[in-house]
Symmetry: C2
Subunit: 420 residues, 2 copies
């Protein structure tokens, strides 16, 4: 049989065609399939409608080597995936006594009799491999016909994911002849997407056409740019070396704006730097209103290196709780290098921390002025050895300004901890 | 011509078939189409591949009244949507001098000559209506053939959204004969999805089969359940009355766990309650690490009712900054009713606030014990008139426990502000 190189993903369920639901299953599946060197050709969400389901399956079957469906395996009349696939492949649905026994036992364990409608979930197209579901009543199904494979999975992620990893991945690995996708991620802060691209493009363009080609994708979010490098093949050692070389070249060209080449987030990098020194950080925030602290403490174990902080939204709190002199705020304003420095020093002293960080700014929509427009943010970091202060201007809405600000503060912490 | 009642959405772009990207355009479009009483039948993401694009368009054209595509209108060789649609509909692509002039002027304004490749963006199938794009170079296209409508939109949301609202919605409104979707949202906290369903199901089941049927969807997130009620038709007054009656019945049956029937978030509800009293809140957080403050200050204008707070991650900060007696923590533990109460009272007194709130708990993964397992959280709210304290146990991972905790604290604030 031919190796499997392309897949279509079909999410079945009317709730996925509302304005509120995203099909996240397809992201998980795409990641796993890519890891096996399989490209996703198309993904669709369709309603619980037999005619539409059949049309979508027909289109998928005529093109992709592999079709993965999620949803529509429940016990109700709405759940039609089993029937539609059997029909299209010209297979008869037969009741599987082994599957029926498992479902009945599942209900018995909870002291209940199996409702009659659940009997449908024991039906499988002839020749199908049944995939056990320890987390629900709907078993999965796997069919191989000639070169093609069709996999039917339940919709709930906690049922679908272990089933895919436990039963489908090993089966697919047999059909990909050792081919795997290998990847590396470089994370950058303090540069825009186009600035990163300008420096990185010549390097990844060359890597893209080398003997072992490396594919590069750029992902941007407020304050952070990621370069995803990947290469597929069966010679893992060579590919690993080629990827590491590309990472090294990019890291050298981009310089110290690269904060991670090993998958860690910036809050993990900062946490590790603090942990290594045995230091603890104290935080004073104004416009970010707790968002910086929330990120620092997002990392499990953060209590070892985060002491705490003060959210000084009102000026009176900056004065009373952080010891910022009232006259300083009057003279320079709450959003100023002077106030930011005093906030960082105040919180460091009050909480007896080795390092203090502060953010003060105007997140908007109100509060801007011609000299200090919305998006003006000042960040300060202070240690016993000295204080560094920077003024930024971040474009965008309130939430975006807040995300940029927290990121800038994390990066200034990283730099202070790397050098001082 | 027939009215438009169903639509297919097609997102074009290879980047949408990676594990990292979600097609958010389709959520915006689904919301807008539903508002016009148009149901989305299917949505797909496809690669920049002419054969696959044609197959997907063919499938859509044979079924839906309306097809909306996003992406693939750029100037490069990868951008194929224009050509594929013209081809399928048997229309010739012609250069539109008016469109070309607009694109050239756009470049001229930035002092640049139009690159030759952008000339492609001035091509349109004969008979197409060109949709202006003030935010980019790619104009949209709208084609009507018999009963069917095909709309091609650019991919970037800031180009796509104003184009859809400004040019496509009015055109669609002509084709829906006054039919509109009307909706209401009820928001609940402090109840699980199944608890809400048990109470609400008889009411929404009856509403679903009434003369003017109301459709109900339940959406659950940590600490919050939403009931979305909707009904489509051309008699807005009757539908509005029917929806309001259903909302009133549900709100009465569910009681005071309903915190919003007008779309407001709980932080907006709390902010409005504080604002109305002229009160200001002070916050003391431990395990949530700033997440409660971040939510309270997410609301524009929050500086009027949020004074600030202390994130007391370490016990020494609880003692020094919040005035919690060291002996109290020793006797009862940092996660206890006593400590939570002292934290809330301490922050209220220190910041001179009218109301204080505190959270202390074990978010995990470490730190649990048999008496206080991971997920144990205590919340306190205090005013001059008294203090209320509650202990919770929230299931789930660190991030989920933190979200549940912030939600519980916001709800206790709401209750204290509504009654005291």
């Amino acid at each position: 049989v031919r190796p499997i190189v392309t897949a279509d993903i079909l999410a079945v369920g009317s709730e996925l065609l509302t304005p509120h639901r995203v099909d996240t299953n397809s992201l998980f599946l795409t990641g796993r399939l890519n890891d096996l060197g399989i490209a996703v050709r198309m993904k669709s969400a369709i309603r619980d409608n037999p005619r539409e389901l059949t049309a979508a399956l027909t289109n998928a079957l005529s093109n992709a080597d592999l079709i993965v469906t999620t949803g529509g395996l429940g016990p109700t009349a709405d759940d039609l995936t089993r029937e539609a696939v059997a029909d299209l492949l010209g297979l008869e649905l037969v009741e599987r006594p082994d599957v029926l026994a498992v479902i009945q036992e599942r209900f018995a364990r909870r002291g209940a009799a199996m409702p009659a409608i659940n009997r449908r979930q024991a039906m499988a197209p002839e020749g199908a491999i049944v995939l056990p579901n320890p987390n629900g009543t709907a078993p999965g199904l796997l069919l191989e016909q000639g070169d093609r494979m069709v996999v039917l999975l339940p919709g709930p992620p906690r049922e679908m994911q272990p089933m895919f990893d436990g039963w489908v991945v090993p089966r697919l690995a047999d059909r990909t002849r050792g081919r795997r996708l290998h990847r590396r991620v470089l994370k950058v802060t303090g540069r825009s997407e186009s600035q990163v691209e300008e420096v990185a493009e010549p390097i990844y363009a060359a890597a893209g056409t080398a003997e072992t080609p490396v594919e590069t994708t750029i992902l941007a979010s407020p304050g952070q740019i990621e370069l995803h490098l990947s290469s597929a093949g069966d010679d893992g050692q060579t590919i690993g070396r080629v990827l590491d070389e590309a990472v090294a070249r990019l890291a050298e060209a981009l310089g110290d704006v690269v904060f991670s080449v090993d998958g860690r987030s910036i809050e993990e990098v900062v946490g590790d730097l603090l942990h290594r020194r045995g230091w603890r950080v104290a935080v004073a925030e104004s416009c970010t209103g707790g968002a910086l602290m929330a990120r620092l403490t997002d990392v499990p174990g953060a209590s070892a290196w985060v002491l705490g902080g003060v959210v000084a939204y009102a000026n009176e709190v900056k004065i009373a709780e952080l010891g910022v002199p009232a006259g300083l705020i009057e003279r320079h304003g709450a959003v100023s290098e002077e106030t930011a420095g005093a906030m960082a020093e105040g919180v460091r002293a009050r909480l007896h921390a080795e390092i203090g960080v502060s953010i003060t700014g105007i997140a908007g929509p109100g509060g801007g002025s011609p000299e200090k427009p919305v998006g003006t943010v000042v960040v300060a970091v202070t240690t016993g050895a000295g204080t560094s202060v920077r003024r930024f201007w971040f474009p965008g809405e309130r939430e975006v300004v807040r995300r940029f600000s927290a990121m800038a503060a994390l990066d200034m912490l990283r730099r202070a901890l790397s050098t001082s």
